[in-house]
Subunit: 222 residues, 2 copies
């Protein structure tokens, strides 16, 4: 049975941002705070180290009933029995990823334009991350953020769920959900927080309230 995109808060890892460099601890606290999907994205690790880390995060995510996706590496995703893979702009074409992953596992795609979003959908992606929506230091080198109007147009242009990325926090979650985002994707707002559990819990509550407001309570909260 296909894995469902039944999450609203999609945590992306960067172990250098975790306090004390302890990614496992930060991820576990984030899971305890209500993160339901984690993308392991540690591009500088060799295959063996990456698989070892993936297996540890697999154990944690399974214990919390959360999804695990691996950035770029379909081989590591399959070896670690992850729920899916997340394809970046330098990953192999989505169609090839779908062929290797089979029909049931998740494929997420990073996108920056409506065209890339359409390609992701056509290639068989289950969902997309779209951004940067707001200013974020880590993406400043790539030019100005896309803005919420571009996000709104992107969400309207596709049938797959879209997660807003880049400078998203409690102060603008309502806006991105109103713009049509299915959820939000974050790195440092949770990983680098003093208390990742509290941060995840707060953001989850913000997302929940945004959906309740936006749908007048008609949509089932997942």
């Amino acid at each position: 049975m296909p894995v469902a995109v039944n999450f609203r808060l999609y945590l992306i890892t960067d172990r250098r941002l975790a306090r004390g460099g302890n990614l496992l601890s930060a991820v576990e606290h984030a899971l305890a705070g209500g993160v339901h999907a984690v993308q392991l994205r540690e591009k500088d690790l060799g295959s063996r180290d990456l698989l070892e880390l993936a297996l540890k995060i697999r154990a944690l995510t399974s214990a919390y009933g959360a999804k695990l996706l691996i950035n770029d590496r379909i081989d590591i995703a399959l070896a670690a029995d992850a729920d899916g893979v997340h394809m970046g702009r330098n990953s192999i074409p989505t169609r090839d990823a779908r062929r290797l992953m089979g029909p049931d596992r998740l494929i997420g795609c990073s996108t920056h334009t409506a065209k890339q979003l359409a390609e992701a959908e056509a290639g068989g992606a289950d969902f997309a991350v779209f951004g940067p929506v707001y200013f974020t230091p880590s993406k400043a080198a790539f030019g100005p953020p896309l803005g919420v109007d571009t996000l709104r147009a992107a969400c309207a242009s596709t049938r797959i769920p879209v997660f807003a990325l880049g400078g998203v926090g409690a102060e603008n979650i309502n806006e991105v959900i109103a713009a049509g985002a299915n959820g939000v994707s974050m790195i440092s707002a949770i990983l680098a927080a003093k208390d990742p559990r509290q941060a995840a819990s707060d953001i989850n509550l913000s997302i929940k309230n945004a959906f309740l407001r936006h749908t007048q309570g008609q949509e089932e909260w997942s």
Copy 2:
């Protein structure tokens, strides 16, 4: 049907060593000169670029009836329909590789000790590369070469075919074949040669003569 290890000259790529940076041309000439197996090993390439290159080398190797293996990346090997994967010391465990690759594709392993060779065999590897046997500038930082006696002991300790690597050339092929190697593995001796086709042809002849001498013509030449 399982892919056979029916080659004696195993070329490993490094596009920076190819003359004029033209890896495709160097590989094609090497294939024309009698290379029957190529390992694509370009560790600094992103997934998309690596797959694109792999598909081009796949077309070349298929045209010449040669095997293609991809270093480390099982996902790229499967996406490019390569004959196999080659596992380095930082690759995932051989057992996991076998599970993902299925029973029929080739798995080669890089080894430096008899213990690693035994682990490769136990993990389901079809063959191993062993070295460095002789001095080679690219491996000088890892300490002195292992020497031909260590190669002989290693070959005697395993049932899988062993390819000698590191400083192997026309002048010592006879010695490594006499020590029990199934063949030889090379990078610069072919890729960086003024004429990769001639270099491959010369080395192939040296291997053939070494086997004829060593087996007194009893072994079928493949």
